[in-house]
């Protein structure tokens, strides 16, 4: 019985991944604004990465963008100072984010809002250090870095797509596996979960690092695609905030919810937000308030309430 359920769930995961891959491989042939598609994928990845942590452990990282920026800078520095292939440098971005994740690991001792705020502070510290003009020799300080000699829009697009599929695969794994079942148990009641033989601390740290790695990889591919960037472009708190809003809107703890939320709201942002940012800010602020009060599980709960299971 359970085996069959797992099998069905795993099949749903594969379907989602195949559909995503097909959509983002075919779309560029019909729609030539490739930078919009790239940005869209970036935000889907970040939203899914945040969902890995928040949706499956309940830890809301307000400074999630710190990992994204770390990944961007790690990748750019590797490109500048080594002769590794660029894709390896992007992987290095993920590793850089994992290193930061290990350093910030003790933050997981905190709960709820304290974790969120401490994480925000940590990401600001990384940002201020990286953009400090005393470090101009290494990080370019406020002027950022330039890796335009490896500029390759096609390759970076495909890299981001692979990262998107990896992130989605991780979410599907958390949603369907024994590991994920353990996560759900410990979110509801960590003490009982520990008693039932789940290694709460180890699982939580693994999810934290996986979430960090996804953001770091995304940051690396993003830096590659931009090829010239300022610290603000990869450390703006708004990037992480968007990921939070998109995930909440779609519905955290699911695989599809964050994807749908990110796509819908990012397109809305692209429609009105870039030319009229404060209008969009007002809109998503109000949206957060309404979601918390009336739809804490996002729009996917509209389906759940009607008895449909959202994968």
């Amino acid at each position: 019985m359970r085996e069959a359920g797992l099998l069905r769930a795993a099949r749903s995961g594969i379907v989602v991944i195949v559909v995503l891959a097909a959509v983002f491989l075919i779309l560029p042939h019909f729609y030539n604004n490739r930078s919009l598609l790239f940005e869209l994928m970036t935000f889907v990845v970040l939203t899914q990465g945040l969902n890995l942590l928040y949706g499956f452990t309940g830890y809301l990282p307000f400074g999630y963008v710190g990992f994204f920026g770390t990944g961007a800078y790690s990748t750019a520095l590797l490109v500048l100072h080594t002769h590794l292939p660029v894709v390896a440098c992007v992987v290095g971005g993920g590793v850089g984010a994992i290193v930061i994740g290990v350093i910030l690991g003790p933050l997981l001792r905190l709960s709820g809002a304290y974790f969120s705020i401490a994480n925000l502070a940590a990401s600001q510290i990384i940002f201020f250090v990286v953009s400090n003009s005393n470090l101009s020799g290494i990080t370019g300080g406020p002027y950022g870095l330039k890796i335009d000699r490896v500029y390759a829009p096609e390759a970076s697009y495909l890299t981001m797509l692979v990262i998107l599929l990896v992130a989605t695969g991780l979410a599907a794994y958390f949603r369907t596996s024994r590991f994920g079942l353990g996560l759900r148990a410990m979110t509801q009641d960590p003490v009982s979960a520990e008693m039932a033989g789940i290694n709460v601390v180890r699982q939580r740290v693994l999810v934290w690092l996986a979430s960090a790695a996804v953001a770091g990889l995304a940051g690396g591919a993003y830096a590659w695609n931009l090829s010239v960037f300022y610290p603000d472009a990869v450390f703006a708190l708004q990037i992480g905030v968007f990921a939070i809003v998109f995930a909440l809107f779609g519905g955290v703890g699911t695989v599809i919810g964050p994807i749908v939320g990110a796509v819908l709201l990012y397109l809305l942002y692209d429609g009105i937000g870039i030319s009229f940012p404060q209008g969009f800010e007002l809109l998503y602020g109000a949206l957060i308030v309404l979601l918390v009060l009336f739809l804490p599980n996002g729009i996917s709960s509209l389906l759940t309430r009607r008895g449909l299971r959202v994968f």
Partner: protein
């Protein structure tokens, strides 16, 4: 060198007393409601614009921003409280959900402030609070700093008297100590909470009146930074103990001033580094609530 250190220490104390006032409203609301008002910095920012409006549009002394702030806090605070808080307290995780919700409110306030005042930085005429300098131990500070410190001392002292001398203040302390027991003894917890909420917003906005002087200018986007700084201050002090905020304010003020004097380019790190360090080494100091139980 010595006089530079003297300047940093005295300036740090003055700055710290003012920042106690910035943080104290956040701590009061947390203490009573167990909710983090993530829109705190935005209310401080609104106070700054209250001062700007009375001085720029009505030609009055910016100090009239204080009564305007208090009236504004009452007008905004009561409906806001009843619109969101009772519903939140019935939800499954009030602490986290209120945190996210107030973040949404912060974004709404920031956007509306940009509509109303524009995105530019605004400053106030320097001589409105006395254009001279007042010295102590041979170190001069602008008059506006002394006015801000005086108002901070009066406001914090007033809050202390409220807690120690009035019936409502006793009830507020009872609610801070134990919400359920306070209710059991017949205290109207909702009334105490809404009053504490409004006082917290009013204190934030009153502090905001001086932001254009102590931080140079006010603009709609300073809110998040002020919230983070306030949070650092109240964590250093003692979360849930409003009067303890003063300790946090002084640590922050001295730290910032010393950094600004000796390592200026790193001074923006101060509140964040303090926050992370304190949260990590003293998690139990946060009333034991910051630590997970497994």
């Amino acid at each position: 060198m010595v006089s530079l250190l003297e300047y940093a220490v005295i300036g740090g104390i003055l700055f710290g007393i003012f920042f106690s006032l910035i943080g104290i409203g956040l701590n009061l609301i947390f203490g009573v409601m167990r909710m983090i008002n993530l829109a705190h910095g935005q209310f401080v920012m609104l106070g700054g614009f209250a001062a700007f409006v009375v001085s720029h549009d009505f030609g009055l002394n910016p100090l009239f921003g204080i009564p305007l702030s208090i009236v504004g806090a009452i007008i905004i605070g009561y409906p806001l409280y009843y619109a969101v808080v009772p519903r939140l307290q019935k939800s499954h995780d009030p602490e986290m959900l209120s945190f996210i919700l107030f973040f949404g409110i912060a974004q709404v306030i920031e956007a509306l402030a940009i509509f109303a005042f524009g995105a530019d930085q605004r400053s106030l005429p320097g001589d409105a609070l006395g254009g001279g300098n007042l010295g102590i131990l041979g170190q001069d500070f602008p008059d506006s700093w002394w006015v801000a410190v005086a108002v901070s001392v009066i406001a914090i002292g007033g809050l202390y008297l409220y807690f120690s001398r009035t019936k409502l203040g006793y009830a507020t302390r009872a609610v801070m100590a134990d919400r359920d027991e306070a209710r059991a003894t017949g205290i109207n917890v909702d009334r105490v909470s809404v009053i504490a909420f409004v006082i917290g917003l009013a204190l934030a906005a009153c502090a905001g009146v001086f932001v254009p002087y102590l931080l140079g200018s006010v603009s709609p986007d300073i809110g998040d930074n002020l919230t983070a700084t306030s949070f650092a201050i109240i964590i250093i002090g003692s979360l849930g103990d409003p009067i303890g905020t003063v300790v946090g304010g002084l640590v922050f003020g001295l730290g910032t001033m010393l950094m600004q004097t000796f390592y200026a380019s790193w001074s923006n790190l101060v509140p964040y580094v303090l926050l992370v360090i304190i949260v990590l080494i003293r998690p139990t100091g946060l009333l034991g609530r910051a630590v997970r139980h497994a």
